[in-house]
């Protein structure tokens, strides 16, 4: 196989897997060289990082296994930036940045279980909640391998106006247009979480209260709502060296107007894993309210428009059933992977033709 020889010449490890080849690049540069060869032979490709869901090489194509691209180049607590390769697991990165007094912040369980590359290229686009009830991608910079094997990387800056944001080609793209090789990840200072818990007559009222806090820009870092025999409990935690206590107290003043504190809630209420077979969704507040009669919710990345949420049914209901109810409520299921909704893409925005032209112009695999 000429392709195999050419691929091996790029420095990547080549192993036959099923009807295709599995390629393990030792470096971002080797990955780039191999991507160029794959393009030249017009081979279909899949990408997998360490910790990501299993993926096989497509028939007659290649699987890039980025598990060996797992180096953490640097963690700079003063700058609040960690530079890492795409194959590094999110859990390993969190451990490393914790040692420097930083954190990635609260993340969805599926994100924590996967690689940095999968996080950024996946359905959350690397987004997470930031103070002020906003959502922002964790990637300050992305080095992405273009289909021709060149690596595009922008400058690290909190904001820039230098034409379209090219990182957006990689974020959420699932490796379709380009492959994330390395990234500069924004880090938060690690702090003690400030908890707060409240009682509501039902889950729906608790969701509405959470939405109201977001309208006041007092979104907690994470939150949980559990239904009980006599109503629902909302537990929240705020993070931030100076801001956590301030925002928790402000939120408390707002909530006191229409609900009561729940002092008996266990300290780990918000962190305990969900019951049964949960699904993760990206949803607007209206969808989360519509879900509320069905079961419990754990929130991440809360913002003015909605949140990422882990939804679970009481009585350990099946994930399929949970996903169906979530979809009926208007939420987009993003995990587990087997139940993931493809979601409305460019076609739904009237940009289907643009997408096709973009794939051709970039030289991405068909």
């Amino acid at each position: 196989m000429i392709a195999r020889e050419d691929l091996a010449a790029t420095g990547v490890a080549v192993v036959e897997e099923g009807e295709g080849l599995r390629l393990t690049p030792p470096s971002a540069a080797a990955l780039a060289r191999a991507v160029a060869v794959v393009r030249a032979y017009r081979l279909p490709l899949h990408v997998r990082g360490s910790g990501d869901a299993p993926a096989n090489a497509p028939a007659g194509g290649v699987l890039f296994d980025l598990g060996s691209l797992d180096r953490i180049a640097s963690v700079d607590p003063a700058a609040g930036i960690g530079r890492v390769e795409a194959g590094c697991s999110v859990a390993a990165l969190e451990s490393a940045v914790r040692r420097s007094g930083c954190t990635l912040g609260p993340l969805l369980p599926s994100v924590r279980a996967g690689s940095v590359g999968a996080w950024l290229a996946g359905p959350t686009r690397g987004e997470r909640g930031i103070p002020g009830a906003r959502r922002q991608t964790a990637a300050l910079t992305v080095a992405a391998v273009l289909p021709d094997g060149r690596i595009a990387e922008g400058r690290a800056a909190p904001a820039k106006a230098v034409g379209p944001d090219l990182d957006q080609l990689a974020l959420g793209g699932g490796g379709r247009l380009c492959i994330v090789a390395t990234a500069g990840i924004r880090l938060f200072p690690a702090t003690l979480a400030m908890p707060s818990a409240w009682r509501f007559p039902d889950v729906s009222a608790a969701v509405a209260a959470l939405e109201r806090l977001c309208e006041h820009r007092l979104a907690p870092a994470r939150a949980r709502i559990r239904a009980g025999a006599d109503g629902a409990t909302l537990g929240m935690v705020w993070e931030g060296i100076q801001s956590a206590a301030i925002e928790r107290d402000r939120a408390g003043r707002i909530l006191l107007e229409f609900c009561t504190p729940a002092p008996e809630v266990p300290p780990n209420f918000v962190r305990e894993p969900p019951d049964g077979h949960p699904v993760e969704v990206d949803a607007r507040w209206a969808s989360l309210r519509a879900w509320s009669p069905h079961g419990d919710l754990i929130f991440f990345g809360l913002h003015g428009g909605g949140a990422f949420a882990v939804l679970s049914l009481p009585e350990a209901g099946a994930a399929e059933q949970c996903a169906a109810l979530a979809r009926a409520a208007g939420a987009r299921v993003i995990a587990p992977r087997r139940l993931r909704d493809s979601g409305p893409g460019w076609e739904a925005a009237g940009a289907g033709s643009v997408w096709e032209r973009l794939v051709v112009a970039l030289g991405a695999p068909p």
């Binding site: 690290a156 909190p158 106006a161 060296i241 100076q242 979601g343 409305p344 739904a348 009237g350 112009a361």
Partner: protein, 584 residues
């Protein structure tokens, strides 16, 4: 001089490109006319429909300073007829072509001073809906004619200058819808909606967008999107990219794109289009996140003995999770001008800042290195202005006091609220102070760049070193975020004769003067941008690339230029949208 050779004056009821007050801004930016608006020229009636009669009146009043107005071309006349057949207002009147040939960049102001119009469009059109924009783009596509979208014309990078002629698509009539959806925390606005008008509308409902660029009074919403604009309050509210929920745009093949609000799959189409400077699509409508307008505000000025301490304090405030709505840090010269220093501003420096005493100014600017070194020798301090918003005084004070503790640890001295209030009151006036400086024969360039905190001080010094031999350099650090900040440099240099001198010399002498001015301006600009690129910083924080920074874009993006070309091919297959920008 005047209207010779144009077809101006043939129709009094045709629309005009610019509002009278905008025209005054364009002209007054050169110091050639008074910047005060005359009777009937206030901004309150400027929400949508241009007032052609008033515009023409201003042109006539000041036609002596515009030089020869652009001639209508045969192509322009033909296009006007075809555009009119689509029931879209269009004009190739000399006044409209003149006004559409420039923005508020220093290059544009120097052209005005020299009475030249090097890049007039062939025709100006005012569509009123996304469908009309789409029809116009399809027409242009068939004829391979450039289409350059323009909003308020307040850009400072030359992004809306029609370098290759064609159609200037003025978005100021795209003012519908204008609808607040308070229940969902959103406002829908047409791309041509005036920023101030939107702000006032929201203010009446005790709501806010949290976006306050200095150009608020004149800029349009579409212009904000095109340059990924950032305002005074960006530390708390983010840039306009953080405010957009969805948008409608027309791509280069004339297709209407409507991005989705809420979860979507694949690369984020909306975020990809923002900041594309009219090269990928033309924005027609946007849905923006809005917030309750805070009732209370806390402001403080804090003085630091060194820039290093001040930077450390601002960084720690942001890293601590506090969210100031204002976090502005001024270098020693900027601090001196702010008037909070015990040291009085030496009179020659006041002349420099205000453009008074033209001769003194010109004399001083002949030795910029000496001037910069003299300023360095003054005992300097750095001023930080911090502000917090909230619903109660206690809320704001709580955050403010926490920030002051952090500043205290970095040896900051609390100067109280008064200097900060004064600073805030003058913050929006600053861009319009350039007029007397241009009139006095100087040029003023503002360069907004950005980097991470560890590189910020080195970047500041590198740009100063690069530019100090050619211009007076002052700077402030703004748009602070947990990871870094923007730096806005002001470069003040000598740019030929005074406006009075230039207006009285023959045309060829005025053009020679312009050439010298552009050379002087380009030299310092390129030196500063080279330093920025060498330091690994980004070349534009919020002003866009336009034509003024394009030569440096390849250094910023590297192999990303290939991705940019692919985007251009995909969104604009005929290459008609704002050609010559981002990609040459």
């Amino acid at each position: 001089m005047g209207l010779a050779g144009s077809d101006a004056g043939t129709r009094m009821d045709r629309p005009g490109l610019v509002q009278p007050v905008e025209l005054r801004s364009l002209l007054s930016g050169t110091g050639l006319i008074s910047s005060s608006a005359g009777p009937g020229l206030n901004r309150s009636d400027s929400g949508g429909c241009p007032n052609s009669i008033a515009t023409r009146s201003v042109m006539r009043e000041h036609v002596g300073v515009t030089g020869r107005l652009p001639n209508a071309t045969a192509l322009g006349k033909a296009l006007r007829r075809e555009i009119a057949a689509l029931e879209i207002a269009a004009s190739c009147d000399a006044t409209d072509l003149w006004a559409a040939s420039r923005d508020c960049s220093s290059a544009g102001l120097l052209w005005t001073k020299a009475r030249v119009s090097p890049h007039p469009p062939d025709v100006v059109a005012w569509p009123e809906s996304a469908e009309q924009v789409a029809a116009l783009v399809r027409l242009a596509g068939k004829q391979r004619v450039p289409v350059v979208p323009v909003g308020g014309g307040t850009g400072t990078a030359g992004g809306a200058v029609p370098l290759r002629g064609g159609i200037v698509l003025d978005t100021k009539r795209l003012t519908r819808p204008l609808r607040i959806d308070a229940g969902r925390g959103a406002v829908d606005a047409g791309a041509g909606t005036n920023g101030k008008r939107l702000d006032e509308l929201l203010s009446k409902e005790r709501l806010t967008l949290g976006h306050g660029p200095p150009s608020l009074r004149t800029a349009t919403v579409g212009g904000w999107l095109a340059t990924r604009s950032a305002g005074l309050l960006s530390s708390r509210y983010g840039t306009v990219a953080d405010m957009v929920l969805s948008l409608t745009a027309v791509d280069g093949s004339g297709e209407i794109l409507r991005t989705l609000e809420g979860p979507s799959a694949g690369p984020d189409l909306c975020k990809l289009l923002l900041g594309s400077e009219g090269t990928l699509a033309i924005f027609t409508e946007v849905r923006l996140r809005i917030w309750r307008r805070p009732r209370e505000r806390w402001l403080r000025a804090v003085r630091f003995g060194s820039l290093q301490d001040a930077l450390a304090a601002v960084r720690e405030v942001l890293r601590s999770g506090l969210r100031p709505h204002i976090a502005s840090l001024h270098d020693p010269l900027d601090t001196l001008f702010a008037g909070t220093d015990p040291l009085r501003v030496p009179q020659p420096l006041k002349w420099l800042a205000e453009g008074a005493q033209a001769e003194a100014l010109r004399l001083a600017l002949r030795a910029p290195l000496l001037l910069n070194r003299l300023i360095d020798a003054l005992p300097g301090s750095s001023l930080v202005v911090l502000g917090f918003e909230g619903d109660t005084e206690d809320d704001t004070a709580q955050e403010g006091e926490a920030a002051l503790v952090i500043c205290g640890k970095e040896r900051g001295e609390d100067l109280g609220a008064a200097p900060a209030e004064w600073w805030l009151a003058s913050a929006h006036r600053a861009p319009w102070r350039q007029a007397p400086l241009f009139a006095a024969g100087a040029f003023v360039e503002t360069l907004d760049v950005a980097t991470t905190w560890p590189r910020a001080e080195a970047l500041y010094h590198a740009v100063r070193r690069a530019a100090e031999g050619q211009a007076l350099v002052r700077a402030h650090f703004a748009h602070a975020a947990p990871e870094g900040c923007g730096i806005e440099f002001t470069l003040l240099g000598l740019a030929g004769g005074t406006a009075a001198e230039v207006s009285s010399v023959p045309r060829d002498e005025a053009e020679s003067d312009l050439e010298r001015a552009q050379e002087a301006r380009d030299a310092v600009w390129n030196a500063a941008l080279t330093a920025v690129a060498d330091e690994g910083a980004t070349i534009s924080h919020h002003s866009g690339v336009g034509s003024s920074r394009q030569a440096f874009l390849h250094r910023e993006l590297g192999d990303g230029m290939r991705a940019l070309r692919a985007l251009k091919q995909a969104f604009d297959p005929h290459g008609i949208l704002n050609p010559g920008k981002l990609l040459s």
